[in-house]
């Protein structure tokens, strides 16, 4: 009978063995958290971040580069500091900082490096380097800051900062980790993937004390870093600086484009800021200051600020009217019967040329009415809708109401009202007609444009009917590659023959028209058009678009100065100075230059948000 007990005993043994196998099956086959935990334990990923690409101007001048900076790390277990006072003096920290940081480091881990001091400068590093041997357990890790050759162009360049938690979660390809630097705005953001390069990864095995124990899988998984690609921009940094200086004490934008290529020569957003403020160790302090500034210096206004085009839009009306067959250069309209007022000018023979030269409001009121009603049928509501449809289709070709595709992230569409738009506003079809929307005729009403769009329009005028999408970067990387989009001309659907009378009108507007004496360049034929952009609050914005020289134009420009009044006062002289500087390399009209550099319109500026949505994404 006792013989059978062997079986009982063995069954107990076997049962325990089965329980173990079951548990092991769970640990090794079912639950994979242990596998991940093992990798976290024993494999250290060492990230190598390459230098970010540099940025050059159109003449090959370096604008942005990188300065290496050094972080000091401490590994508490290995750290030996015999003379704390000397150490504190060397690293320029207080005894209190030393004690508290060492304490935090010990609490974090005795064997892992802890950030002791952030962002040592090159000078600090040179000073400390030799003394490092006396302090075992302290090590230096290198990274880099953006450094700027010029204080100009900061808004278009954008800045680089630690990735914010939301972007970290939303990123599509899971590239960034917490604490990584990423281009936040401007070119830095648009060309982020080219600029950043690709970071390298080294996998090293470590033991439980964090000491390296050789390559993991013989380095098969390691990735070498690839350096960031340089950006070769079309910006003329000298011109940019000059335009910047003219826009001091003002709120507004300057955009200058080379018409034949669509290359942006200058893009000023005023007020601006010193880009190095956001690249140093005090990012958060300065960022706060700039973000809270009511004049919003962080915003890049040219592609995103919303204005009405004002009288500059009359040129669009003239071109569209001729293309649609409603206007000819010989068409004459008087002031009579128009609800819009006009300035005091000669109306004896008020043809298209005269109307452009003097920016005649009634002329374009009548012209727009004719554009809408010609070759339409039905009642006035139906005819207005038919006419507006035809009109808006053609105007849209100029880039109004849509994005031009500039290589900046914060470009806004603006607004070009069409039939659908008014049906929505007036809540139904055939509920509105010309008399409701005639403000469009002189560039007011629901029209919304950005300075960039108006500069592009100036380029269209210069090219007599086509443009290449404006862009700030001519080439990326050593091969200077560029998206073919920025090489392909776009036609606006208005025949070149209609541009002659417009050019002539613009030339005369500068010489004997709406542009004052300060806006005339004695030895350059500049075609320009003033605008006065009405806005809900405060004084009108001063607007001016131009291109020069008249024949074979080299530069097209749009200048917006907020709350500076009539376009001829502030915007035109500033534009003329920039054109003179660009075409001649110098400015002879020193008195005008000095006058407008010192001119301030800030007193008129009401602290209204100039764009609907803050481009900082707040």
């Amino acid at each position: 009978m006792l013989e059978g007990r062997r079986i009982v005993i063995f069954l107990v043994f076997a049962a325990i063995g089965m329980v173990f196998i079951g548990k092991l099956f769970y640990l090794q086959m079912v639950d994979n958290t242990y596998e991940k935990a093992a990798d976290n334990n024993a494999i250290r990923k060492i990230i190598q971040i390459p230098f970010r690409g540099e940025v050059y101007d159109r003449h090959g001048k370096l604008i942005v580069y990188n300065t290496p900076i050094y972080d000091l790390y401490v590994t508490p277990r290995k750290a030996v500091v015999n003379d704390t006072n000397r150490f504190c003096a060397l690293f320029n920290v207080t005894k209190g900082y030393f004690d508290s940081t060492m304490h935090r480091a010990r609490v974090y881990s005795r064997v892992k490096p802890f950030l002791f001091l952030k962002h040592l400068s090159k000078e600090d590093f040179a000073r400390i380097q030799d003394a490092m041997v006396d302090y075992p357990g302290f090590s230096i890790s290198t990274s880099a800051f953006r450094t700027y050759q010029s204080k100009a162009l900061s808004n278009a360049l954008g800045y680089v900062a630690e990735i914010n938690p939301n972007s970290l979660v939303d990123q599509p390809d899971d590239y960034y980790r917490q604490g990584d630097y990423v281009g936040i705005s401007g070119l830095e953001a648009f060309y982020e993937e080219s600029l950043r390069g690709n970071r390298g990864v080294k996998y090293r095995m470590v033991n439980s004390n964090g000491v390296e124990k050789g390559e993991y899988k013989k380095g098969q998984l390691d990735i070498n870093p690839t350096a960031g690609q340089n950006l070769y921009t079309s910006i003329d940094i000298r011109l940019q600086e000059y335009a910047d200086s003219l826009m001091m004490h003002k709120v507004g934008s300057v955009v200058a484009i080379e018409p034949s290529t669509g290359e942006v020569l200058t893009m000023v957003s005023a007020p601006s800021y010193d880009p190095s403020l956001l690249a140093g160790r005090n990012f958060s302090t300065y960022y706060r200051q700039l973000a809270l500034d009511p004049l919003k210096p962080l915003i890049n206004r040219p592609p995103s600020a919303y204005y009405r085009p004002g009288s500059t839009f009359k040129l669009v009306q003239a071109l569209v009217g001729m293309q649609l067959g409603s206007l000819t250069p010989a068409s004459v309209f008087t002031h009579a019967g128009a609800p819009v007022k006009c300035h005091n000018h000669n109306t004896s023979h008020n043809d298209l040329h005269n109307a452009i030269q003097w920016s005649c409001n009634p002329y374009f009121y009548h012209a727009f009415r004719k554009i809408l009603y010609d070759n339409t049928n039905g009642n006035t509501y139906e005819r207005s809708a038919q006419g507006l449809q035809r009109w808006s289709d053609l105007v849209a070709n100029f880039g109004f109401g849509r994005k031009l595709g500039v290589d900046l992230n914060n470009e806004k569409k603006g607004n070009l009202p069409n039939v659908e738009y008014y049906n929505k506003v007036y809540k139904g079809e055939n509920t509105w007609k010309f008399s409701n929307i005639y403000s469009l005729s002189i560039g007011e009403g629901e029209l919304v444009v950005s300075p960039l769009k108006m500069a592009n329009f100036a380029a269209i005028l210069a090219n007599k009917g086509w443009y290449i999408p404006p862009h700030l970067v001519k080439g990326v990387g050593d091969k200077k590659t560029i998206d073919p989009f920025y090489k392909t001309p776009v036609s606006v659907g208005v025949d070149a023959k209609y541009f002659g009378v417009v050019h002539q009108g613009m030339l005369d507007a500068v010489l004997h028209g709406t542009v004052g004496g300060d806006g005339k360049i004695p030895d350059i034929q500049m075609c320009g058009k003033t605008g006065t952009s009405q806005n809900q609050k405060g004084k009108d914005h001063s607007v001016f678009i131009a291109f020069a020289p008249k024949d074979n134009p080299k530069i097209a420009i749009a200048v917006f100065v907020e709350n500076a009044g009539f376009g001829g006062f502030a915007a035109a002289p500033i534009a003329s100075l920039i054109i003179e500087k660009y075409l001649k390399g110098r400015v002879d009209r020193k008195d005008v230059e000095t006058k407008f550099m010192n001119m301030s319109y800030l007193a008129n500026v009401t602290y209204r948000r100039p764009v609907k949505k803050d481009s900082l994404g707040k």
Partner: protein
């Protein structure tokens, strides 16, 4: 009577010896892997190799072979004749250890002679098994009698209490495994049944709230009474008994709670708490269990390959070479490896039980069951603690774990039995 040594070799159970050799080899390979440094691998001909665990273990293995030779050189009757003397000698050593011993790895239970340290507690198991077997060899002794039961219990309890006295509770618990020997030799089934019941009660008192235990007991009592014959159900004494049983179990359960919280020492209590909640004391005891599970769990089906483990090699699991050697196998040979080891070990135990039952003398048979019981208990606790099913006790995995005392004591334990087995035809059945 006049047995030649060649005759013994023929009769030696080579299957068991082969499995022993395999376990020792696997153990050594795992120790080698645990200390293996991929950046500077040491060959076995390097002098420096013998300062490391793998080298030392090689020396222990070599000396174990000498021990085996010695055991086979002795007369097989020596072990029965000298059982009492061996037992008394080790009892004296256990008494002497607190006064003459040295502290190794925080345990004050070692003797030191030159560079060799020996833990008498390891060897006292063998001595106890021998004396117990000798006592049971007396045909007058029957384990159904209370007097004989008491003497058997005293033989086991004496070294056990001395070891508990030197704070080696883990090693002392190994003596509980003699219940297997005693059960085979006629101890009524109620005793192991009661032991298992107590363990179940202990675990459930820790895991469950008293109210849930009470409800479960009431439910069981109700079912039990329902299946009784009707006349039994009518007796009031049935209900009284049920109530009494529940009361006793509940008070025992409360006692367990009280014991864990007030009688056990802090470190013992923590070991039990870690078992129930591995997140408890993550940096200390919980760390060991968690790291052990990570090492085994990361092995997957086929493992990371020999010498390919990262957890075990880089010191993530404390006591890697000794008590947690099973992790290395789990990480490098994966589920197939650990399953192989477990199945092989069970087969080994089965072989020992089988051989024990083949013995003609009760002494050899009882000793065989003692050996199987001790080895099983180590297997149970050691593997159980590496996978988080058992509290952490300083108990090695027989033949695998690094350590001279451990390897020597298991070798002696096993080969005494194999020596006796090789003489089974010479022994008289009584």
């Amino acid at each position: 009577m006049n047995s030649s040594s060649s005759n013994q070799i023929v009769k030696l159970d080579w299957l068991t010896v082969a499995m022993y050799a395999l376990f020792v080899l696997l153990g050594w390979m795992s120790v080698y892997s645990a200390v293996y440094n991929p950046e500077a691998p040491l060959g076995i001909f390097d002098e420096a190799f013998y300062t490391g665990n793998a080298g030392k273990q090689l020396i222990w293995i070599g000396t174990s072979f000498i021990l085996i030779m010695l055991i086979f050189a002795l007369d097989f009757r020596f072990f029965e004749s000298f059982a009492l003397i061996i037992y008394v000698a080790f009892i004296l050593l256990l008494i002497a250890v607190p006064f003459l011993g040295v502290t190794v790895n925080g345990s004050h239970s070692w003797f030191k002679y030159g560079s060799v340290t020996i833990q008498p507690a390891e060897f006292s198991k063998t001595a106890t098994a021998l004396l117990l077997a000798k006592y049971l060899n007396d045909p007058q002794v029957s384990l159904t009698r209370i007097k004989n039961q008491a003497i058997a219990a005293a033989i086991v309890a004496l070294p056990m209490l001395l070891i508990i006295g030197s704070n080696e509770t883990g090693s002392a618990l190994v003596f509980a495994s003699f219940i297997i020997l005693l059960y085979r030799e006629g101890l009524p089934g109620e005793f192991p049944g009661l032991l298992i019941g107590m363990i179940l009660l202990f675990v459930s008192s820790l895991l469950m709230k008293p109210l849930s235990i009470f409800l479960v007991l009431v439910a069981f009592a109700g079912i039990f009474i329902l299946i009784l014959p009707i006349y039994e159900r009518r007796k009031p004494s049935t209900y009284l008994r049920a109530v009494a049983a529940i009361a006793i179990i509940m008070s025992l359960s409360t006692l367990v709670d009280f014991g864990v919280n007030h009688v056990l020492k802090e470190h013992q209590r923590n070991r039990i708490k870690v078992l129930l909640d591995p997140s408890f004391d993550r940096r200390g005891l919980g760390y060991q269990v968690t790291q052990s599970k990570i090492a085994i769990g990361s092995g997957g089906f086929w493992g990371k390959g020999y010498l390919g483990g990262t957890q075990t090699k880089f010191d993530f699991v404390p006591e890697q070479s000794t008590d947690f050697i099973f992790c290395t196998i789990g990480e490098e040979f994966g589920f197939m490896g650990v399953m192989g080891v477990i199945v092989l070990f069970l087969f080994f135990l089965w072989r020992l039980l089988y051989l024990a039952d083949q013995q003609r003398s009760r002494f050899a048979r009882a000793y065989g069951f003692g050996v199987a019981g001790i080895l099983f208990f180590h297997f149970l606790v050691n593997i159980g603690m590496t996978i988080g099913l058992m509290p952490i006790m300083g108990i090695p995995l027989p033949f695998f774990s690094y350590g001279g005392s451990s390897l020597w004591s298991f070798t002696i334990l096993l080969f005494i039995f194999l020596k006796l087995d090789s003489h089974r035809s010479d022994m008289l059945s009584r």
